[in-house]
């Protein structure tokens, strides 16, 4: 079965693929993981929604637990979409607000202090995000902090490296606390934990090590983001979930994934990664996306650079064998 909205070059047989994934889930649980069910952290986004739907298709709604884990910076929409999904799938869900835990770890204070290195006027009740730029202009990727005061005034400043690293280190608490909570519920039920990265995120290392990167099974890490949307439509997920825009939902200002990590919006990034994986010349990508060849080449270079930089995120701890 094909999807009318999916780019022809990214078409796949969705019925076949859904069956392949659900078989993989069942076989992994029974033959390798030896767990009785699955925990899925639900963000309201497309990836976790499709993972939960595939989990239900594989092992039934009674063996899937959905966890909603909002914190102070989460958008209300994320929560509402997760609620819609839970109702639609008929799964058990639990709400674990992680704000107090993050407060206990000083996540917000540490982040705010780091932001003030670049923006001394920044106050804790302001909203903020980090924006990445550079790759498509052939520059080394670098970062800007954008903040908004309660009266709507916007501030922007280049982030010195130490400030950037401190902000990321503080916000990484969010993914790691969520994963800790997922494993608590999984351990308590003898369930396995689902990781929800799509192919772009997995390939380009857009995840936190021991945070959202940790899981027992990653059912959609081979699917391009556009294919995940197509799968959502094939699985007949609610319309408003099928139309969600990808965000990081990590920073208090709305932040697209292409602002924070990827060089292009996901539809184009999927094609860039596909062409790169097929070893097609940059000229082909330039023609397809109507870009200069030099820009297409820089996007290829950025893909390669991100693979190298994030390679260690995929690794188990390095160790020696006994001599």
């Amino acid at each position: 079965m094909r999807d009318q909205y999916l780019d022809p070059e990214l078409q796949l047989d969705l019925a076949f693929e859904a069956d392949r994934i659900t078989n993989f889930i069942r076989q992994s649980l029974a033959g390798t993981l030896h767990r009785r069910g699955l925990v899925v952290g639900l963000s309201g986004g497309i990836d976790s929604s499709v993972c939960a739907a595939l989990a239900v298709r594989a092992i039934g709604p009674e063996r899937v637990l959905g966890l909603m884990m909002p914190e102070a910076d989460s958008s209300d929409d994320s929560r509402k979409l997760a609620d819609v999904l839970v109702q639609h799938l008929g799964i058990e869900a639990q709400l674990e607000d992680i704000t107090a835990t993050l407060d206990g770890l000083d996540c917000y204070r540490r982040r705010d202090e780091a932001i003030r290195i670049a923006l001394p006027e920044y106050q804790s009740d302001w909203k903020s995000k980090i924006v990445l730029s550079g790759a498509s202009q052939g520059l080394i990727n670098h970062f800007t902090v954008v903040a908004e005061s309660p009266d709507g005034q916007r501030f922007e400043a280049a982030l010195p490296l130490k400030a950037y690293l401190s902000i990321v280190a503080a916000t990484n608490f969010k993914q790691r606390v969520r994963k800790t909570m997922e494993y608590f519920h999984a351990d308590a039920r003898n369930y396995a934990v689902v990781g929800t990265p799509n192919r772009l995120e997995y390939d380009q290392g857009f995840f936190v090590k021991n945070g959202d990167g940790a899981a027992d099974i990653k059912p959609i890490s081979h699917l391009y983001k556009s294919q995940v949307y197509a799968m959502a439509r094939y699985l007949e997920l609610p319309e408003n979930i099928c139309q969600t825009t990808p965000t990081t939902d990590t920073y208090s200002l709305p932040q697209g994934q292409d602002e924070f990590y990827f060089a292009l919006p996901y539809e184009q990034m999927d094609l860039a990664l596909l062409y790169k994986n097929q070893s097609r010349p940059a000229a082909d990508l330039a023609k397809r996306l109507e870009l200069d060849i030099a820009v297409a080449q820089r996007i290829y270079d950025d893909i390669e650079q991100k693979r190298k930089t994030t390679q260690y995120l995929h690794m188990s701890p390095l160790r020696l064998e006994a001599s």
Partner: protein, 85 residues
């Protein structure tokens, strides 16, 4: 600071922080940091912080290109006339 001293300071920064050695043969002046896997993009940002904090050379976003930063020789060409007296 003489050119020789600047070069030596840059070499020491890379050798000590990324190769964990004082063996001067471990790094040639023409070697690409990125291609040789000595630095990744985060390492380049650390290098820029070093230039700004230790040598007083400010790097504008438009100057953050490998041609300026990706080897000892490229770095020397980029910064040699920009170090504050």
């Amino acid at each position: 600071m003489s050119d020789m001293e600047i070069r030596s300071q840059l070499r020491a920064f890379i050798l000590e922080n990324y190769l964990f050695t004082d063996d001067q043969n471990a790094l040639s002046d023409t070697q690409s940091f990125l291609k040789a896997g000595i630095l990744d993009s985060m390492g380049i940002l650390e290098l820029i912080a070093f230039l700004e904090e230790e040598l007083g050379v400010m790097v504008a976003p438009a100057e953050m290109v490998p041609e300026n930063l990706d080897s000892i020789d490229n770095l020397m060409a980029f910064i040699v006339n920009r170090i504050p007296a």
